[in-house]
């Protein structure tokens, strides 16, 4: 197994990342209070949530810097989860009949 050749973050970088996460969280909460954004609220919230998810996984969990086998193992579950979600929705939709 091999590790990705990228410089590792330092504590200062981790604090910067925490600030970014804080700003995104504040933006998420703000979006729920702005009526003008009603139509695009879901897209905005899911995008910001995905960004936070990727930042934590990439930097705090070191997946950007670690062996690809770890990323593959995690991605397997991450990709299977929405497939499972679709299967559950489809099954229930068919069973309930709507």
């Amino acid at each position: 197994m091999t590790a990705i050749d990228r410089p590792h973050p330092k504590p200062r970088d981790y604090v910067r990342i925490a600030l970014i996460l804080f700003v995104i969280t504040a933006a998420e909460v703000s979006v729920t209070y702005v009526d003008a954004l009603d139509s695009s609220r879901a897209v905005l919230l899911l995008t910001m949530s995905a960004a936070k998810f990727a930042i934590v996984v990439g930097w705090y969990m070191h997946l950007r810097f670690d062996s690809r086998i770890y990323r593959n193992l995690f991605m397997l579950g991450l990709i299977a989860a929405p497939i499972l979600f679709g299967a559950v929705l489809l099954s229930f939709g068919l069973l309930i009949g709507n």
Binding site: M1, T2, A3, I4, D5, P7, H8, K10, P11, Y14, V15, I17, A18, L21, F22, T25, E28, V29, V31, T32, R41, A42, L45, L46, M48, S49, K52, F53, V56, V57, W59, Y60, M61, H62, F65, D66, S67, R68, I69, Y70, L73, F74, M75, L76, G77, L78, A80, A81, P82, L84, F85, V88, L89, F92
Partner: protein
Amino acid sequence: MVVATDQTEHAGHPDPTNVGKVAMWAFLGSECLFFGTLISTFLLYHNTTLDGPTAQEIFDVPFTSVSSFVLLMSSLTMVLAHYAAGRRDWRRMRVWLLATAGLGLVFLSGQAYEFTNFVHEGLTVTTSPFGSAFFVLTGFHGGHVAIGVLMLLATTFMSFSGRLHEGQGMNVELVGLYWHFVDIVWIVIFTVVYLLQV
């Protein structure tokens, strides 16, 4: 480009062929499916409130936002603990581990307060499918946080007692991976369960 792992750069996770780390990532991948199922169930039933309160009536987004912030900050303290372990700065590692456990306990206290409020307002696990799905999902997440706190405290006390030495970096990293996973699950729950429902 890929290169062999450098012991200095990767000091916090020194052995790239560590079976424990592979197992932890496989476990976290399977946990994605576990929480994916619970979130799917919540989305199926989030509008089935029967005579019970709805999400709009009961959720306190400002309060939950503070809880989310606390959990996010615990990821910062966790990664700082991991960094300190990589530099073999055990004293600082213990401080950050205890800070992480403390923030986890604050989050759990907030969840207990929130659950108590919901029960007083008429939402219990048996009130409606919405209530069942909500309490099962957030309850299981809270259970994971509680297990994480125990792991953090156990690692800290093992360090105090001197039972962890050279292998400490990897132990802290595995606990850290679990803790960060608990954080990313909450990132999804906070958006899907709370923000999209109000």
